[in-house]
């Protein structure tokens, strides 16, 4: 049996060839979200941070609560930081300065239902943060589609928004549309250049989303360099997303947004590096990961262009989570010494 382990093998010859242990793996993912969080806070104000802090705190709270009820050791489970990470991921997905109860409902769905009721870390078939997000999106569409336009760090209504005491009409007045939303609402048959010329978005919105997307990309590159995520899922997802978007764009450049637009707005890059790469709910083999990632990219464009929702990362990821057992079954690698198969279930 192996007496050596990568986490102890700190000799010069072997350093940096393998990923760090699970707990620090989760922490590295949290660290990699920092560029994105900073960019979002810079563009949308402290409401982003309030989301994250609330969600992460509730995540840890709910996790310990369920573990206590399940009579499982609490310390090791909290030590792996996975509940914290779920909180961070859901927090950045919600509109800034979401009311506390919205975050609470989302985190119950994420940590209690999607994760712990399925058996805890490693056993959840669906991405917890995305379950929480999807539940909120279908249950509270008003709150979930209210993204404030870019604004100063501290807004006057921040506290009232978080406490949920601000009337919805006021929030509506404060908020603007996201670029994806705006494009979705574009009048039928209006040429794209005309739409953009009409200045449909509050000032700086498009730039803000680009900046944020690039910040997520920076975090993603950090994850790749630290070997925390493999290149397979992000590459396959972004590749198929670009191909699909290009096909639609080539078919009707006025009706559908350009591939670059799809890449740099919404949650595309965040999803590619931080959501789709969740190892627990993703496919396991390398070929499986490629298929899984490509499926997500495909679904994102299909839902964005043809479906009813402006963004689709959560639904695409959840739908592909559903396919994981099937993908896994058909992408079992050929062990050495067995006849070659391209795809197919092991016999």
């Amino acid at each position: 049996m192996s007496m050596l382990h990568a986490s102890h093998a700190n000799d010069a010859s072997s350093a940096g060839t393998t990923a760090p242990p699970t707990a620090s793996l989760m922490r590295w993912v949290i660290i990699a979200t920092l560029p994105g969080i900073i960019a979002m806070t810079y563009c949308f104000g402290l409401g982003v941070l309030s989301n994250i802090v609330l969600a992460a705190a509730l995540g840890v709270l709910f996790e310990s609560g369920v573990l206590y009820l399940r009579k499982r050791p609490i310390a090791p489970a909290l030590n792996d930081s996975s509940a914290l990470l779920t909180g961070v991921l859901l927090g950045v997905s919600l509109p800034p300065a979401s009311p506390w109860w919205l975050i609470g409902v989302g985190m119950i769905a994420a940590v209690v239902v999607a994760k712990q009721l399925y058996g805890g870390l490693g056993h959840n078939p669906f991405n917890p943060a995305m379950v929480g997000y999807a539940l909120l999106l279908v249950s509270f569409p008003t709150y979930m589609t209210l993204w404030a336009p870019p604004q100063p760090l501290i807004s006057d209504t921040l506290w009232a928004q978080i406490m949920g005491t601000l009337p919805i009409a006021n929030i509506d007045a404060l908020s603007g549309a996201t670029p994806l939303d705006a494009f979705k609402q574009k009048a039928q048959g209006m040429p794209a250049f005309q739409f953009w010329a009409s200045d449909p978005l509050p000032d700086g919105t498009l730039e803000a989303w680009r900046l944020i997307s690039l910040a997520w990309l920076a975090g993603g590159v950090l994850l790749l360099c630290k070997r925390i995520v493999s290149w397979h899922i992000p590459t396959a997802m972004l590749g198929s997303l670009l191909i699909m978007a290009t096909l639609f764009y080539m078919a009707d450049a006025d009706g559908f947004a350009s591939p670059v637009f799809h890449l740099l707005t919404g949650a595309t890059l965040f999803g590619a590096f931080f959501i789709a790469t969740d190892p627990v709910s993703a496919a396991t083999s390398r070929r499986g990961k490629l298929l899984y990632g490509a499926g997500i990219g495909f679904l994102i464009i299909v839902i964005r262009n043809l479906g009813g929702y402006p963004d689709a990362v959560a639904f695409a990821v959840l739908l592909m989570n559903l396919c994981v057992p099937l993908i896994d079954l058909y992408t079992v690698p050929n062990p050495m010494g067995h006849p070659k198969r391209i795809l197919g279930a092991p016999r």
């Binding site: 049996m1 192996s2 007496m3 050596l4 382990h5 990568a6 986490s7 102890h8 093998a9 700190n10 000799d11 010859s13 072997s14 060839t17 393998t18 990923a19 760090p20 242990p21 699970t22 707990a23 793996l25 090791p76 792996d80 805890g120 870390l121 490693g122 056993h123 493999s230 190892p279 627990v280 993703a282 396991t284 083999s285 390398r286 990961k289 896994d328 079992v332 690698p333 050929n334 062990p335 050495m336 010494g337 067995h338 092991p346 016999r347």
Partner: protein, 566 residues
């Protein structure tokens, strides 16, 4: 140097070879006493052929091989046998170290049978770890054509440098040993596969090859990556041939030997010296004088480690073999045996105990390092769930237990331990089912034999009856009693006869089928026992006899009744 091919996966663990490879090869001091286990090889234990009180010399045969896969064991010191048990033989030294060697042979002028007999007599087994008897391995040419002999000098496990030192010190002898084995198995080419982290051994080998002027020897330097020295992976790397699943290298015309084995084989032939000592790497931070040592077999590990300055205060555990595939010893009261290639006396800091296991997060790190392309984490789930069906489907038995998956697992799951447990459980199950199957066949045979005896008895009785009846067949008094017995068969003689005929032809077909299956199996695996199939055939034959007898009897009855009825 020739082209080398790639195998998937693999890891780069810390090598930690420098300390033991820098010290020169030395001899360990002669032990005061040795304890030689009867089983130091794969296969069956040897059978002791000495008694307590016998005096022996170095190289005296003390235990004979038992069965095909087994090996002789020789005294490793001269002195007196003090203890003989079912497990081991102990010898007390007389301090003389007198040798009892066999006659030296020149292998180029000696026929293959004599050479094989010499390897057999000398108890040479694979010194790399498995301990498979060398002469048996060489005899595979009976069934497989061998074209290539591979010298497995990759030595990819961390710490171990025994082969490295062997090649540095005895390059010519290893090369000659390789030629000896190659000539025995008919291999046309010899390929030495060595990792590029052993420059001294590579230089020594290059010089030896130049000196010997052999065209058939190639030295292939492969990149250092664990587990390149695993037999199947090395063959893939050197020849780009793939050993079939559950198959042997011989199936694709290859034999693999470790340099130490080749040296031992050459010594057995050229010097007539049986396998009584080997080179062992003694290393680890708890040892003052690490290095490689010639050690007599049977030397206690405790005395051996004490000799090289074991610091018991700093010692946290002793590992036999490498840190990846070896085992942690619970006691040092164990002897060095033919397969002991390395002892690591590790400190706490060097090989710390595994941290707390956390749940699998399906990250797939294990899958990307698995050199045989399995899905370690799927196997982990199925092994824990004891889902044997799935374990077979995901090819548990193709796992080479290299430990690369355990090494990289971020959740510190002892994956290989799970697999070993599952494998031994499945093997045990297999044995149990075979036993049950065997018992079932024996029972069926007994039933068939009893039925046949009963039918024969019936037939004899019938014949007797017919005999006593025939002279008095016209006797009316007897005929009045007859209808009672004939009435029954005459009611349905035709249908009864037909069903018996069908039963007889079915029994005939069963015999034919059993014969065919047995013949096919016997051809495919001529050396294995086919007792179960033979029993099945015997059962089918008994059943046929019963059917024959019953049919014959029924025919007679119908004839008798048709004769009587007019």
């Amino acid at each position: 140097m020739t082209l080398s091919f790639d195998f998937p996966g693999g890891i780069y663990p810390p090598e930690r070879k420098v300390r033991s490879s820098q010290a020169p090869l030395q001899r360990a001091t002669l032990p005061e006493q040795v304890s030689l286990p009867l089983r130091q090889h794969s296969g069956r234990p040897a059978v002791a052929c000495v008694n307590p009180g016998d005096s022996v010399q170095v190289g005296s045969l003390i235990a004979k091989r038992d069965g095909l896969i087994s090996a002789n064991i020789h005294a490793s010191i001269s002195g007196t046998v003090t203890h003989v048990s079912g497990h081991d033989i102990q010898i007390e030294s007389d301090g003389q170290d007198t040798w009892d060697t066999l006659a030296p042979l020149s292998w180029r002028d000696t026929d293959a049978r004599t050479l094989l007999a010499r390897l057999d007599e000398s108890g040479v087994v694979g010194l790399g770890g498995a301990g498979f008897p060398t002469q048996v391995k060489t005899r595979v040419i009976v069934r497989h054509a061998i074209d290539t002999l591979i010298v497995n000098a990759a030595e990819c496990e961390p710490y171990i440098t025994a082969d490295d030192i062997t090649l540095q010190r005895y390059p010519d002898d290893v090369l000659e040993g390789a030629q000896l084995i190659a000539s025995l198995c008919g291999a046309k080419q010899i390929i030495i596969g060595i990792e590029d982290n052993k420059p001294e051994a590579i230089a020594a080998l290059e010089q030896a090859i130049t000196r010997s002027q052999l065209a058939s020897v190639t030295l292939t330097v492969i990149p250092t990556r664990y587990p390149s020295g695993s037999e199947k992976l090395l063959i893939k790397t050197l020849l780009n041939r793939t050993v079939p699943s559950q198959g042997l290298p011989a199936d694709i015309g290859v034999l693999c030997h470790n340099p130490g084995t080749l040296l031992a084989a050459l010594n057995a032939v050229r010097a007539g010296q049986p396998l009584v000592e080997r080179i062992v790497t003694l290393t680890g931070d708890a040892i003052a004088r690490p290095g490689n040592y010639w050690v007599r077999l049977g030397t206690s590990m405790e005395t051996l480690l004490a000799q090289v300055g074991l610091d018991t205060d700093r010692l946290s555990g002793v590992v036999q073999g490498g840190p990846m595939m070896g085992e942690t010893l619970d006691t040092l009261q164990r002897p060095v045996v033919k397969t002991t290639n390395c002892l690591i006396a590790a400190t706490q800091a060097e090989l710390p105990p595994g941290p707390q296991e956390s749940p699998c997060i399906r990250c797939g790190a294990c899958e990307s390092v698995c050199p045989v392309q399995l899905l370690p984490q799927q196997l982990h789930w199925y092994a824990r769930a004891q889902d044997d069906d799935k374990l077979a489907r995901y090819h548990l038995f193709d796992c080479i237990e290299c430990g690369a998956c355990s090494y990289v697992c971020p959740s510190h799951i002892p994956l290989v331990e799970d697999y070993r447990e599952a494998k031994s459980r499945l093997r045990h199950q297999q044995i149990e089912t075979a036993k049950a199957e065997h018992a079932k066949h024996r029972f069926e045979f007994r039933q068939a034999r009893l039925a046949r005896e009963e039918a024969e008895k019936q037939a004899r009785r019938h014949a007797r009856l017919a005999q006593t009846k025939s002279p008095t067949s016209n006797n009316r008094a007897d005929a009045t009693a007859q209808p009672a017995s004939t009435a029954m068969p005459s009611a349905a003689p035709q249908t009864d006869l037909r069903s018996l005929r069908i039963a007889q032809s079915a029994a005939k077909a069963a015999v034919r089928k059993a014969e065919k299956v047995l013949a096919r199996e016997a051809q495919q695996a001529p050396h294995e026992s086919h007792e179960d199939l033979e029993t099945q055939l015997a059962t089918a034959r008994e059943n046929l006899k019963v059917a024959d007898l019953q049919l014959a009897q029924a025919r007679e009855n119908t004839q008798a009744s048709t004769e009587e009825s007019p």
